[in-house]
Amino acid sequence: MDPLLIARLQFATTTSIHFLFVVVTLGLVTLLVGLQTAGFVTGKPVYERLTRFWGQLYVINYVLGIATGIVMEFQFGLNWSGLSRYVGNVFGAPLAIETLVAFFLESTFLGMWIFGWHRLRRGVHLALLWGVALTAYASAFWIMVANAWLQHPVGYEVRDGVAHLTDFGALLTNPTLGFAFGHVVSAGLVTGGVLMAAVSAWHLLRRTPDFLLFRKSLRLGLVTAALAVTTLQGFGFAQFGPVGELQPTKFGGGADRDALVAEWTAKFGPGDYTPPVLSSVGLGFMILIGFTLGCVWLLLPLLWRDWIIRWKFPLWLVLLGVPLPFVAVILGWIAREVGRQPWVAYGLLPTGQAVSPVSAGLMLTSLIVFTLLLGTLAVTNWVLLARHAARGAHDPALGRPPTPDTDHHPDPVFA
């Protein structure tokens, strides 16, 4: 097999699994900040219970986000050493900033937040969650800066075949950055909102004891999803303009594309400079899902007098909607990433030049090992998430008041 194809498959697999967990992280952490802040301000116990329940799901989900994130980071060097060799001077900077500003602090804060219940002052504990959320957004931002540069390289000059940084500001004002970042953040909020609403709907359908608690999180989830789906669609369609202009090969035909292909053929030699059809087909489906998710607005009037809960069938609709945002985010990434083939950095570095000169056998081993490992962990993680979601908010392990030995229940002794 071709090492290039294997390396691309591995990147696609790892990124997809990573993103399925990252969108949930981004969405849930925002909702958690709202819940814990509400609890801090109002002092109502229901908010602390909500924070513990959703916080536990957030923390379980985060495990795979970090595990796949570490693999992603190493993969650049393992499989794509040409990327660091030719464009590392520019592309490496936002990635380095992301690890230092965001990833490092996010995990440090989260460790303290998990173990800080009942130990830290409430204000400090809340501040830690704000820190987790802000660094999560910073992380998304810097990763998008790096990705936007690959979509549309700016602020550099090539000397001796290697790109050097000339204008860092240009990376931040990259026309492929702003709308895409808004789009990704909105996607996170939609996913988090739909997930929260669906888990609550399940409990309300099953008539589990915590009616008031899940009624509250159902409403919060639906309103968040509705607001975010509107910005999601806005940022999505807004991208067609700049992307169509800067990447004429992405969405198919036109005179611009032919001119660019002719230019590349002159510069890099003849070759196939059109992306696989796969990317644009996926884009169509994603847009359909986006419109379907937009129907969440129709459910909002039913929140009045709890009709949504009394009628029951809207709850089933919410429950059935869970897979939609996940399918959509994967299709969206395929459109963005596969759509820039055959380039790693659009018009600057062909994918074939970036792949590491490693033997196909070794790369295949790596692909199989990591696909099996991360795939198994992802499925296990979803099973655990589903079980904890089903278990309800009775007594999550997160934030449980400390006792001498939490799991050990000694048999009663009759003297």
């Binding site: 393992l78 050493s81 690890t99 500003v101 030995d405």
Partner: protein
């Protein structure tokens, strides 16, 4: 400028080995066959620090990518099997520790504990092999790429991997003498003392094999520094053993931490000014200056790191301070 970034890279990787070292050491000790309660207690002794420890690796690789892009590509792809092993280990430990207590069934938790043990072994062996691989040089050709991966299969690399595994085990046991409730300390202190001779033997074996290896002798530019490494390791381990015998857990942990941190600066210094030494073509060796990013990138990252690194260290220190002292019945339990 390059030297400052090289030092910062070394600082982050060495700190990762010290902090991640006790994560993996504690992970290894789950294999002792203790009771479920005891296993959970040891993991929660690492508890609040766990997530903050492994991100030192993430930051080290971030610095590697930002400040030394050429090195990043060649180091990771040139030592592919070692990095692959370490990475699988890191992923297994990360997932295992955080998920092991989510199922309620004892059997599932025991299963996850085995995952943590396996991951800890792989991670320690992988990083040891990486350091060993650096010391014996790589077949770097004139076009700047490392050819093949068979060069890693030497007795010296195997011994270096085992030596790091032994050091990590000592580090884990010593960390537990510092964190577990006072009543549990004597047994782990005994275990830590018993592991010190094993680590000494592993370090001695790696030293002998290194001295016998033509490639190591050829690659090391400063033999005096390289010889200092095993001597310093032996001294640190002996200090740790003596401190453990006297019940000075803090001193012992400081000594084992030094033993895990030292390999990074000393390997760097022994190879200086080169970082990837070519075994096939001396002229093809990669120096630190060649590997570094160009001036504007380093300047940009430098202005950013100036306020940022103290902030990172400050928040980590806050974590250590807030959760200082021994765990007791009132400490939060989550892992």
């Amino acid at each position: 400028m390059e030297l400052a970034w090289y030092a910062l890279l070394g600082l982050f990787f060495a700190t990762y080995l010290v902090l991640g070292g006790y994560d993996y050491g504690v992970g290894l000790l789950l294999a002792r066959g203790a009771t479920p309660q005891a296993r959970r207690a040891t993991l929660n002794a690492v508890g609040p620090f766990f997530l903050g420890n492994e991100v030192w690796l993430v930051a080290a690789v971030g610095i590697l990518f930002g400040a030394f892009p050429t090195l990043e590509g060649e180091l990771l792809s040139g030592l592919y099997p070692a990095v692959l092993g370490a990475l699988i280990g890191v992923v297994l430990v990360t997932a295992g520790v955080q998920l092991r207590s989510r199922p309620r069934a004892g059997a599932a938790r025991t299963g996850w504990d085995r995952v943590v043990v396996a991951g800890s072994v792989l991670a320690a062996l992988g990083w040891g092999a990486l350091l060993g691989g650096l010391l014996q040089g790589v077949p770097l050709s004139g076009d700047g790429h490392v050819a093949g991966v068979g060069h890693l299969l030497t007795p010296f690399v195997a011994a270096a991997a085992l030596a790091l595994l032994a050091l990590v085990a000592v580090q884990g046991a010593t960390f537990l003498t510092l964190r577990l409730p006072a009543a549990d300390v004597p047994s782990v202190a005994r275990l830590a003392r018993g592991l010190v001779p094993v680590a000494l033997a592993a370090v001695a074996a790696a030293t002998v094999l290194g001295l016998l290896s033509d490639r190591v002798r050829a690659a090391v530019g400063r033999p005096a520094v390289a010889v200092l490494l095993p001597l310093a390791l032996v001294a640190a381990l002996l200090v740790a053993r003596a401190a453990l015998r006297r019940g000075r857990a803090g001193v012992a942990f400081a000594a084992t931490s030094v033993a895990l941190a030292l390999p990074v600066p000393l390997v760097g210094a022994a190879l200086w000014p080169r970082v990837l030494v070519s075994t096939t073509d001396p002229a093809a060796s990669l120096t630190v200056a060649d590997a570094a990013a160009s001036g504007p990138t380093l300047a940009l990252l430098g202005w950013l790191a100036l306020p940022l690194v103290p902030a990172l260290l400050g928040f980590q220190a806050m974590c250590w301070w807030v959760f200082r002292g021994r765990t007791d019945g009132r400490a939060p339990v989550y892992w």
